[in-house]
């Protein structure tokens, strides 16, 4: 059968790549940020994560961040403040 060529509508996504941050070897003595996406259920889950990080993994400090709205990007000032952390734990969930 005769063929035709048509143009692809899909767009290239290369060029957006970012490097992977170096991982920490251990959480012991580290500052860990916990970002709550503001969905119900996120807080109690992270409360328990905080307890376990303190009790069993020797983190030196936990900093909690609460987004006001799950569907909006993290505010710039919260992103800047997070630079005080060695590791951040966030989430995508509903």
């Amino acid at each position: 059968m005769k063929t035709i060529k048509v143009l692809s509508p899909a767009a290239a996504t290369s060029g957006n790549a970012v490097p992977l941050a170096a991982r920490v070897a251990t959480l012991e003595g580290r500052v860990v940020g916990l970002l709550n996406n503001s969905k119900s259920g996120s807080r109690p889950f992270l409360d328990r994560v905080e307890e376990l990080l303190r009790r069993e993994h020797g983190v030196s400090k936990i900093i909690r961040y609460d987004k006001k709205a799950a569907a909006l990007p993290i505010p710039d000032e919260m992103l800047t403040a997070a630079s005080a952390c060695d590791v951040v734990i966030n989430g995508i969930a509903d």
Binding site: L7, S8, A10, A12, G15, N16, V24, L27, D94
Partner: protein, 453 residues
């Protein structure tokens, strides 16, 4: 900074699209059961313990090292569409010659099947985007096909003019429509619109495209009867092109990155014009500082239109009913709207205007009555809303109530539709509307198909 992302099983697809677009397709996450919102809090606490070893592994890199070296960082440059002189409107664009091609049997069924299989349709047949057709789409205006409006979330594909034109052909647009599409996409990529959120949310929110000014009449964009319905090529295909662009360029593939629980028929297409001829008031674009003779596109992130039947003969009674409908329990307007859109039927608008209610007074009346007592909201909802809607809570006659928006100006009023006692509420979302002037519009051709004014 190293992060460990906790993802419910339902959101694997969205997470994958995001990490892939960032050059880290294999970045591990901590997967937990879905959902988290409706689960009792003690149970959510209990879910943390079994996830801990995975959280620590991802944070400390135990499960990351297998992924190999990181991809080098490259800067994405974006630019507004450049205006080029008419002489560069060649029949063959070098830019198009460089685009990726698909070879397929020259048969409508085979082409449709191939495009559907690639995830490049909305489920309906498409017009094949041959190079010749795409060049014709571009020839109707003066955009530089290689220019990009920027990367589109969540997959961050480059929204180049050429790719927009491919999608516009597929949707069945004429070249005269193309500047409307380019302007709408430019507006959708503005930060306050929050396109990333609209693409990924479980909400049915979608871009609602509102056209103002003389171009609406020139292109035959319907502003009258059956406003949201079928039968008007410009409305149908401009809105459809927007959705195809969100899918093929932005990666908003249903059940993957597009996590909408129910969707909404307006996600196929949602474009209409304001009925300026039958409005007693200044239209939307004039309220926003544009000349009446300037054509504009406004994009509003909203849910499906909810019809409001109202047969009162006094303006206040009518507006109070409409306000209560806008504040319906469970609608987006009660939970998260940054703005609320009211499509006011021309007969309703005439009643308000005849009784001395100008647009500002109408807006204030709606604002004052579009609220719901907390007693009707329920305890769990109230807890969430106290966090999400702190700026919309106040006391009225000693009763704690929730408003639909923060201030009167957050209510958009657009007069549109035909004869009858109907208006419609389009509840908003975590998104702010954006209005831009339509530039680079070529003079409309008298041959525009299906003109119905």
């Amino acid at each position: 900074m190293p992060t460990a992302t906790i993802v419910t099983e339902e959101f694997r697809g969205l997470y994958g699209v995001v990490t892939t677009s960032l050059g880290q397709p294999a970045l591990p996450a901590v997967y937990i059961a879905h959902p988290i919102v409706s689960v009792p809090h003690p149970e959510m606490r209990g879910r943390a313990e079994p996830a801990m070893s995975s959280i620590v592994d991802v944070a400390t890199g135990v499960s990351v090292q297998a992924n190999g070296p990181a991809v080098a960082h490259t800067v994405v440059t974006t630019s507004a569409p450049a205006v080029v002189d008419g002489q560069r409107r060649a029949r063959r664009h070098p830019v198009l010659e460089a685009l990726e091609r698909v070879t397929v049997a020259d048969d409508p069924d085979a082409i449709f099947e191939r495009f559907a299989g690639e995830g490049w349709t909305d489920g309906l047949p498409i017009a094949p985007p041959t190079e010749e057709r795409v060049a014709r789409m571009l020839a109707g205006s003066d955009f530089d096909p290689s220019a990009s409006l920027g990367p589109m979330p969540p997959s961050w594909g480059e929204a180049t003019i050429a790719k927009l034109a491919v999608n516009a052909v597929m949707a069945g647009c004429t070249p005269e429509y193309f500047p409307v599409i380019v302007t709408a996409v430019k507006a959708m990529l503005a930060k306050p619109f929050n396109l990333y959120g609209i693409q990924g949310t479980t909400n049915p929110a979608t871009p609602v495209v509102i056209v103002n000014g003389p171009i609406a009449r020139d292109l035959g964009i319907n502003a009258r009867g059956n406003l949201f319905g079928q039968g008007f090529r410009a409305n149908a295909t401009i809105g459809r092109a927007i959705r195809l662009i969100m899918t093929t360029i932005g990666g908003g593939v249903p059940q993957q990155a597009d996590k909408s629980t129910l969707g909404n028929p307006a996600k196929y297409t949602c474009c209409f014009a304001e009925n300026e001829a039958q409005s007693p008031w200044a239209p939307l674009h004039v309220e926003r500082g544009f000349e009446a003779g300037t054509s504009t596109v406004t994009v509003f992130g909203g849910a499906a239109p909810a019809n409001i039947i109202e047969k009162s003969k006094t303006a206040d009674a009518m507006l109070q009913t409409i306000a209560r409908a806008m504040a319906a329990s469970g609608s987006n307007n009660m939970f998260m709207s940054q703005e609320a859109l009211l499509i006011l039927g021309p007969e309703h608008a005439a009643i308000a205007a005849r009784q001395g209610s100008d647009k500002e007074r109408t807006r204030r009346t709606l604002f004052e009555h579009a609220r719901i007592p907390f007693a009707q909201i329920g305890q769990s909802n109230a807890e969430v809303l106290s966090v999400w809607r702190g700026n919309c809570i106040d006391e009225v006659d000693g009763v704690r109530t929730l408003r639909i928006v923060e201030k009167p100006d957050d209510i958009l009023i657009v007069v549109a539709g035909g004869a009858g006692n109907h208006s419609a509420s389009i509840p908003g979302w975590y998104s702010r509307s954006v209005t831009l002037p339509i530039v680079n519009a070529a003079s409309p051709s008298p041959a525009v198909g299906l003109r119905r004014g």
